[in-house]
C-alpha cells in the first residue's frame, strides 16, 4: 500500500465546490480524505506517506480529454498510445478518450481490447470511442453492446460523420441502449468536398475552397431533430447526442436551443477554436489547417461565450498528430489537425481565466468534471473520497514556453509552438502513480 499526502496546496474540486486550501490523502489508486491544512499530517506520518509539497499550487482533479487521436493501431509514426499518453500527462491529463479512425478502424471488440492492453504502455487511462458504423463507412451500425463490454465508452465515426438520417437514428437508439453517448463530428461532407478552410472573404482571396457555416450547423440541426423525435417519442431510453468540436455560432445556437428544450445534447469546444481565427491560415500555414476549420472572429467569440454561459459543456482538444513531412505539403494536400494535449490547460487559462475572468473552479469543471461525466467515466473528474487518485498540480501564475520539439508526442504540428503561456503543470498523478513531474 502506498500513501501520498499532498499538502499546502489550494484545492479545487468542482463537484463539491471546494475552492480553498486543503490537504489531500491518497492511498494506492484512490483518494482517501481531504482535510484542512495540516490536519492529515499525523495520519499520513503514521502510514509513512510520501509527502508532496503543493505550496503555491492548485491541486485539482486530473484533466480529462474526451477527443484525441492516438493513431494506434496503424499510424505509429504520428503517435502511439505510449507517446500520446506521455504528452497528455505532461499537459495535466489523467484520462483520454481516443477516436476510432485508426487503421484498422476501431469497430470491433478486438481492436478496442488491443488499445487497452498493457502492452500499449499507456501512461494514463485511455478510454476508446468505437466506430458508430462498420469501417466508419456510414452504412451499418456496429455492435454497440459487445464494443461497450470490451471497453468502448461512446460511439463516433468522427471525421466521417454519419450522414444518413436512418443510420443516425439507429445509432442514437443503440448508443442510448448501451448507456453511452452518440458522438458526432458535425460536417455535411457532401458540401465540403475539396474545402480546406473556412468559407468567406479570406478563402476567396487565398484561392482556397471554403467550408460553409451551414455544413456544420445543418448536421447539428438534423441530429437535434432526431434526438427530439426519439425523446418525445418516449419509448426507448433517452438518447444522448454529443457534438464534437463546435466551431460556428450558428451550430452553438442550435445546441443552446436544444438544451433549453430539455434534450440530452452536450458539446465540446477545442482550444484552437476559442483562441484563433482563420487569419492564422495566412501564408498557407498548414499548422492552422484543421477540421472544423478556424472560423471568423464572430464564431471564435461565440465559442468563448458558450463556455462562459454553460452552453458548451467541456473543452476537448481534438489532439491530431501528424508527421512533419505530412504537414510540409501544399495547403490543400496537407492533413487536417493539430496537436493539443500539451497546451490545452495553458490556453484555457489564458483565454478563459485571464481574459474572461472565469474562476478556476469553473475551468476545472470544463476540463475534468464535465468531460468525465459526459463520457460516464465514474470516479474521475473529482477529488471526492473513493474517487480514483487522478490529480493535477499546477501553478496558474507562472509561465512557460512551449517547445513542440521537446514534447513526448511524436508530432509537433501546432500553431502554438514557441509561445509563452500561463499555467505550468508541476505534477500529474494517475491512479496514485506520479506520471509527470516538472
Amino acid at each position: 500500500m502506498k500513501t501520498i499526502l499532498i499538502k499546502g496546496g489550494h484545492l479545487i474540486d468542482p463537484p463539491s465546490r471546494t475552492d480553498r486550501p486543503r490537504d489531500l490523502l491518497i492511498r494506492d489508486n484512490r483518494i482517501v480524505e481531504l482535510g484542512d491544512p495540516g490536519k492529515l499530517s499525523a495520519a499520513a506520518k503514521k502510514e509513512g506517506a510520501e509527502v508532496i509539497d503543493a505550496s503555491g499550487l492548485i491541486v485539482a482533479p486530473g484533466l480529462v480529454d474526451i477527443h484525441v487521436h492516438l493513431r494506434e493501431p496503424g499510424q505509429g509514426h504520428k503517435e502511439t498510445i505510449e507517446s500520446g499518453t506521455k504528452a497528455a500527462a505532461m499537459g495535466g491529463f489523467t484520462a483520454l478518450c481516443c477516436m476510432p479512425n485508426t487503421s484498422p478502424v476501431n469497430d470491433s471488440p478486438e481492436v478496442t481490447r488491443w488499445m487497452l492492453s498493457p502492452e500499449r504502455k499507456a501512461h494514463i487511462r485511455v478510454f476508446p470511442v468505437a466506430a458508430a458504423t462498420r469501417g466508419s463507412m456510414g452504412d451499418t451500425i456496429t455492435e454497440y453492446g459487445s464494443l461497450k463490454a470490451a471497453g468502448a465508452v461512446g460511439f463516433s465515426d468522427d471525421g466521417k460523420p454519419v450522414l444518413q438520417d436512418a443510420v443516425m437514428h439507429q445509432a442514437l437508439i443503440a448508443a442510448a441502449r448501451a448507456g453511452v453517448p452518440m458522438i458526432q463530428h458535425a460536417e455535411n461532407t457532401k458540401i465540403t468536398v475539396g474545402a480546406s478552410m473556412n468559407a468567406g472573404a479570406r478563402a476567396f482571396r487565398l484561392g482556397l475552397r471554403g467550408m460553409s457555416i451551414e455544413a456544420e450547423s445543418g448536421i447539428v440541426e438534423r441530429d437535434i431533430r432526431l434526438v427530439r423525435e426519439l425523446t418525445t417519442g418516449g419509448k426507448g431510453p433517452r438518447p444522448h447526442l454529443h457534438v464534437q468540436h463546435v466551431s460556428t455560432a450558428k451550430a452553438m445556437e442550435a445546441i443552446r436551443q436544444a438544451k433549453r428544450a430539455g434534450l440530452h445534447v452536450t458539446c465540446e469546444v477545442a482550444p484552437h477554436h476559442f483562441m484563433l481565427t482563420d487569419e492564422a491560415v495566412e501564408g498557407y500555414n498548414t499548422h492552422a489547417k484543421m477540421n472544423p476549420p478556424l472560423r471568423s472572429e464572430e464564431d471564435r467569440a461565440a465559442m468563448v461565450t458558450a463556455l462562459l454561459d454553460g452552453t458548451a459543456d467541456c473543452i476537448a482538444t481534438d489532439h491530431a498528430p501528424h508527421a512533419v513531412h505530412e504537414k510540409e505539403q501544399e495547403f490543400e494536400k496537407a492533413p487536417n489537425g493539430i496537436t493539443g494535449i500539451e497546451t490545452s490547460l495553458s490556453l484555457s487559462i489564458k483565454m478563459l481565466h485571464h481574459q474572461h475572468r472565469m474562476p478556476l473552479l469553473r475551468l476545472m469543471h470544463l476540463m475534468s468534471t464535465a468531460p468525465a461525466h459526459i463520457m460516464g467515466l465514474r470516479g474521475r473528474g473529482t477529488l471526492a473520497p473513493e474517487a480514483f487518485a487522478d490529480v493535477v498540480l499546477f501553478d496558474p501564475k507562472s509561465t512557460w514556453t512551449f517547445d513542440a520539439r521537446k514534447s513526448p508526442s511524436k508530432s509537433r504540428n501546432t500553431p502554438f509552438d514557441g509561445q509563452t503561456l500561463p499555467g505550468v503543470v508541476k505534477m500529474t498523478i494517475s491512479e496514485g502513480r506520479v506520471v509527470y513531474k516538472s
Binding site: 476567396f204 475552397r209 501564408g283 495547403f331 517547445d403 509552438d417
Partner: protein
C-alpha cells in the same frame, strides 16, 4: 518593401527550457517569418508601389535596349521552370525572358519527372536547388504552393500561377499594357489610375489573374468592377480590396469602363458547378454589338487562353482595340525584370 519581402530571417531559435522569464514572440504565419527570399514574387500584395514602379522601369529598359546590351546580365545563372500545369504563354515567356538575359533554363513538368512518381514539392525543390538552380519559376494547381517552395528552398521563387490564388507577373504585364495604352507614366503612385474603370468579366472565382489584378489596380486609384454570374463571382469577392464593386449586368459594367478584361471559364476547376454555356454567352460574351453599344472605345484585354466564340468573339479579339497580343509581348519584358530582380536584386 512590404513586411513579407523585407528580409529572409531564419526562424528564431526556440527556447529549450520549459520555464523562461523572456516571452518568445508568438509565431506568425507570414512569409517573412519563414525565410522567404526577398527576390521572390509570390503575391502581388508583397510589392509596394515603389517596387512596382521599379519593376516597370526595369522592364521598360530591358524591352527597349538591344538584346546585346543585356544578354549577359544573368550569364550562366541557372533557372528552373517547375510546371505542374500545362502552359504556353507563361512558360515560354519566362523561358525566353531567362534566355534573353543569358541564363540557363531547365523545364521540369509533372509529366515525365519524379513528380509523377509521387515526389513531394519540397523534395523536388530541394533536388533542383542541389542541382544548382538559383531561382525557381513555379506553376502549380494548388493555391499557396509557391509559399511552401520558397520556405523550403530559400531560393527566389516566382509564382507563375498557383491554383485559384494569384498570377502576379500577369498583373504586372497587364498593368504595363494598360499604362502604355492609356498613355500613363510607368512610375506609378496611388493616383496613376484615378478616373479609370476596369471591368474584369467571367470566371472570377477560379481566376488567379482576376485576383492579382483586383489586388493591384485599386491601389493605383482604379475602380475595378468584377462582373459575372453568382456561381462564378461570389459576393465575398468584393472584399478582395477597397475600390472593387460587383456587377451582374455586363452591359451596365461596360458602360462605365475604359478597360475590359475578359476571362475564360475554367471548366477544369468547376468542381460540380453547372454552367449553362448558352446563357453565359448571351449574358457575358464580349461581341461586336455589345462593344459598339456600351463601350465603343474600351481597351480589350484577355490573359489567354481564349475560347473564341464563348467569352469573346474573334472580331473583338482581333480588333483594333484589342491589346491581347501586346499583353503577351509585355509579359516578356516584365518577366525579364522579375528575373533580374530575383537574381541580381534588380541591378540591371
Amino acid at each position: 518593401m512590404s513586411a513579407a519581402t523585407k528580409s529572409a530571417p531564419k526562424p528564431a531559435p526556440k527556447s529549450a527550457s520549459k520555464k523562461t522569464a523572456t516571452p518568445a514572440p508568438a509565431p506568425k504565419p507570414t512569409a517573412a517569418a519563414n525565410g522567404i527570399h526577398p527576390g521572390s514574387l509570390l503575391s502581388i500584395t508583397q510589392l509596394s508601389l515603389d517596387e512596382v514602379s521599379s519593376i516597370l522601369a526595369l522592364a521598360d529598359k530591358l524591352a527597349n535596349e538591344p538584346l546585346s546590351k543585356h544578354a549577359e546580365l544573368l550569364d550562366n545563372r541557372k533557372i528552373a521552370l517547375l510546371f505542374y500545369e500545362s502552359s504556353t504563354r507563361t512558360r515560354t515567356s519566362f523561358e525566353l525572358a531567362a534566355k534573353s538575359l543569358g541564363a540557363m533554363t531547365t523545364l521540369v513538368s509533372d509529366k515525365s519527372s519524379s513528380i509523377e512518381k509521387g515526389e513531394s514539392l519540397k523534395d523536388t525543390g530541394l533536388t533542383l536547388r542541389a542541382l544548382g538552380a538559383e531561382c525557381i519559376i513555379l506553376r502549380h494547381n494548388a493555391s499557396g504552393s509557391p509559399y511552401l517552395l520558397a520556405q523550403q528552398t530559400g531560393l527566389p521563387v516566382l509564382n507563375a500561377g498557383d491554383g485559384m490564388h494569384e498570377h502576379p507577373s500577369q498583373a504586372l504585364l497587364d498593368l504595363r499594357t494598360i499604362l502604355s495604352r492609356l498613355g500613363k507614366k510607368q512610375a506609378v503612385d496611388e493616383k496613376t489610375l484615378d478616373g479609370v474603370t476596369i471591368c474584369i468579366t467571367g470566371d472570377i472565382l477560379h481566376s488567379r489573374v482576376a485576383r492579382s489584378n483586383a489586388l493591384l489596380l485599386p491601389r493605383l486609384g482604379a475602380k475595378v468592377i468584377l462582373c459575372g454570374p453568382s456561381q462564378l463571382l461570389p459576393p465575398e469577392a468584393v472584399q478582395l480590396s477597397t475600390g472593387i464593386t460587383l456587377e451582374r449586368d455586363f452591359d451596365a459594367a461596360l458602360k462605365q469602363s475604359q478597360v475590359v478584361m475578359m476571362l475564360r471559364i475554367q471548366k477544369e476547376r468547376l468542381a460540380g458547378l453547372q454552367i449553362d454555356l448558352a446563357d453565359y454567352q448571351r449574358q457575358f460574351q464580349l461581341n461586336d454589338e455589345r462593344y459598339a453599344a456600351y463601350a465603343p472605345n474600351a481597351l480589350v484585354m484577355h490573359p489567354g487562353p481564349m475560347i473564341r466564340g464563348l467569352e469573346i468573339t474573334a472580331d473583338i479579339a482581333d480588333g483594333p482595340q484589342s491589346a491581347i497580343e501586346e499583353q503577351v509581348s509585355n509579359g516578356l519584358a516584365i518577366r525579364m525584370a522579375l528575373l533580374a530582380r530575383a537574381l541580381t536584386g534588380g541591378a540591371a
